[in-house]
């Protein structure tokens, strides 16, 4: 079985982020593997194990041929990676990103399943997975909290507010997995040492046949303004004089929680 995992390499959230004049995120420091995607990587490794063999390929689009985040996923056990990196990608909107990633999936060879996270930690539009599936012409199964593969079909438990729906599709398919579905493994020391020699196929927009369709050139979305989120309002303060519980109860009643 051949599973592709989309992994986004994002600026380290521990370092304060900054925006460029065109409102795009500054991507200068060494990027890290988006934690949201570490679940997809773990899930893929487990699915390949359960299938009794196969391979996990990573797909990423990032600036400056950055591989730092990819190496982490390669150290966890993925076999190889396709990295779309090209100055022409700068300014890509979510659709542009989806186009590049879909083409990269085709470049990865014969693929049974693509895994993504439900949303990235930096852009979090949550739109890339469905767009990719549409471009590939494959079914999209989203918000999976459990994934099983058997006899050419994929069955997921799709997270809902009330619980979950069971959703099934034939392979190949694209599945987005929610955070926390599996416990991502630590890379072993051996895996870390091996990661630097694993193949990373770096390709440009032209290599993917997407000349002129990515980056600012292809974006149909423009970022007109970025504003700070409104500051959180101060809460109400009560001194508990022994009747505090009544205040809590009436507060919850107002919210119609009880």
């Amino acid at each position: 079985m051949h599973v592709v995992v989309c992994v986004k390499q994002i600026p380290d959230p521990a370092v304060p982020g900054a925006l460029n004049a065109d409102h795009t995120l500054k991507r200068e420091g060494k990027p890290i593997l988006d934690e949201s995607d570490s679940y997809g990587v773990e899930m893929a490794l487990q699915l390949v194990d359960a299938a009794g063999g196969g391979e996990v390929t990573l797909i990423s689009m990032a600036a400056n041929e950055e591989t730092a985040g990819l190496r982490t996923a390669l150290a966890m056990g993925a076999a190889k990676a396709v990295l779309v990196s090209d100055p022409a990608c700068a300014g890509s909107d979510a659709l542009g990103t989806a186009k590049a990633l879909a083409k990269a999936v085709e470049r990865a060879g014969s693929v049974d399943l693509v895994l993504t996270a439900t949303e990235s930690s930096d852009g979090y539009t949550g739109t890339v997975p469905a767009q990719m599936a549409e471009l590939l012409g494959w079914p999209a199964l989203t918000f999976a909290k459990k994934v099983d593969i058997a006899d050419g079909t994929v069955t997921i438990q799709r997270q809902t507010e009330a619980g979950y729906d069971t959703v099934q599709a034939s392979l190949p398919a694209l599945v987005s997995v929610t955070a926390g579905v599996v416990e991502p493994r630590y890379p072993s020391f051996k895996g870390i040492m091996a990661a630097k020699n694993k193949p990373v196929d770096i390709c440009t927009a032209a290599d993917l046949g997407l000349d002129g369709q990515l980056g600012w050139a292809g974006a149909r979305q423009t970022i007109t303004n970025v504003e700070n989120a409104p500051a959180r309002q101060a809460g109400e303060k009560f001194e508990d004089d022994g009747t505090g519980f009544e205040k809590v109860v009436s507060f919850l009643e107002n919210l119609k929680v009880i």
Partner: protein, 414 residues
């Protein structure tokens, strides 16, 4: 080498994450409870594949030596890299877990180092292939816990000179007697290397030093409960009592008395001392890094006389000295890695110099960290208190400061 390589940095961040998630939440139990460190250490080994790696490298080395024994011509060249096993491929893989664990729980490193470092090395250094397979492999993979017992109530710094523990030949068995103290892992060890003198009816100072491997539970062997001590609470330390413990030649390291010409036995122990002393530099680095990491934000946040204390030059001096210490000790650690990568062994005197400096400066840094934190620094909650107690032992075990000085001076004046 002036910085950690990209692979090293990946190893470091993976181990750091493990320590934060798996070890730090147990700090309280490790420090003030009865939690032994072994399950956490095993988890560390398993998580990062260190158990599998240690087993594979052990098997490979034994296979190579067995092949060389069959074709003796080939063996000479193979021997060269023999001593550096474990450290050979990539010493960083050994050093980084030491540094990272010491940022939280230096005692765990003591427990680990004495087992997979000292004890396994002693068996690998002197043991026959059969003995190494029997005991050293399981210790290297952390399946079994090892202890290395040389210190006695009346023999510490002068370990060989005033050693009283004895082995007496009785037919084709040895009868072992004596007591050992301050033995790391002593209370829980599965496998114990017991160092003593062969009593052939000759005077104490003429007796040969011999080493035996004991298993927990042997008749006549008693392992005490952990001793209460100043620091390193996550490393259980105890006493061993041997009362007519009977063992065959199969437990005598080397399986023949000929392998212990008085001098050779001492040389084998010296090689182990060198490894132990360079390990202390890595421990010191972890402690110093953590002190800085805790002190810098505290100096910025703690306000007295209307200003952050970091504005005062006396506090700045402390921070600057910590940074100087960090750079120096890190450079020493880098030197160990570079020498190992170049296949060069370190002299005992250089290892002693490294250990002396690292131990002293780590203790100094940790004590100054307590000072910088004021009253909070004296409280267990603020962590520097633990680091200061833990750091102190680096000046005592693995050879006291004073003994390191004698080793350095001896080499200089030779």
């Amino acid at each position: 080498m002036f910085e950690w390589s990209e692979e090293h940095q990946m190893i470091r961040s993976a181990v750091r994450e493990f320590v934060e998630k798996e070890v730090r939440p147990h700090r309280e139990e490790l420090e003030h409870g009865d939690m032994a460190p072994y399950e956490l250490l095993r988890k560390l080994y398993k998580t990062f594949g260190l158990d599998v790696m240690a087993g594979a490298s052990f098997d490979k080395r034994i296979a190579r030596e067995e092949a060389a024994a069959l074709a003796p011509m080939a063996s000479a060249s193979d021997d060269a890299d023999g001593a550096s096993e474990g450290s050979s491929g990539n010493a960083g893989m050994t050093m980084l877990p030491i540094i990272e664990l010491c940022r939280c729980s230096p005692g765990m490193v003591t427990a680990m180092g004495v087992s997979v470092g000292l004890t396994a090395a002693a068996i690998n250094g002197k043991g026959t292939i059969a003995q190494r397979k029997r005991w050293a492999r399981d210790i290297a993979t952390m399946e079994k816990i090892g202890a290395w017992a040389i210190t006695e109530p009346n023999s510490g710094s002068d370990a060989f000179g005033s050693m009283q523990a004895t082995a007496r030949l009785d037919g084709d068995e040895f009868v072992l007697n004596g007591s050992k103290t301050f033995i790391t892992n002593g209370p829980y060890a599965d496998t114990i290397v017991f160092i003593c003198k062969l009593d052939e009816g000759n005077p104490l100072n003429e007796r040969r030093v011999v080493q035996f491997v004991l298993d927990a539970g042997m008749p006549g062997l008693e392992q005490s409960k952990p001793l209460r001590k100043m620091g390193m609470h996550s490393s259980p330390t105890g006493m061993l009592f041997l009362d007519d413990v009977r063992v065959g030649y199969d437990r005598l390291l080397g399986e023949t008395l000929e392998s212990f010409g008085g001098k050779a036995g001492r040389e084998a122990s010296k090689a182990t001392f060198t490894m132990e002393r360079t390990g202390v530099a890595a421990m010191a680095l972890g402690i110093i890094e953590r002190c800085l990491e805790l002190c810098v934000p505290y100096a910025k946040e703690r306000v007295q006389f209307g200003q952050p204390i970091g504005n005062y030059q006396l506090i700045q001096l402390k921070l600057a000295n910590m940074e100087v210490a960090r750079l120096n000790v890190q450079n020493l650690v880098f030197r160990v890695l570079e020498m190992s990568a170049a296949g060069k062994g370190m002299s005992l005197s250089e290892a002693s110099a490294m250990k002396l400096y690292s131990a002293q400066i780590a203790t100094q840094v940790a004590m100054e960290a307590v000072q910088l934190f004021g009253g909070n620094g004296y409280m267990a909650e603020y962590e520097v208190e633990q680091l200061a107690r833990d750091a102190k032992v680096l000046q005592i075990y693995a050879g006291t400061d004073e003994i390191q000085i004698t080793h350095i001076a001896k080499a200089l004046l030779a």
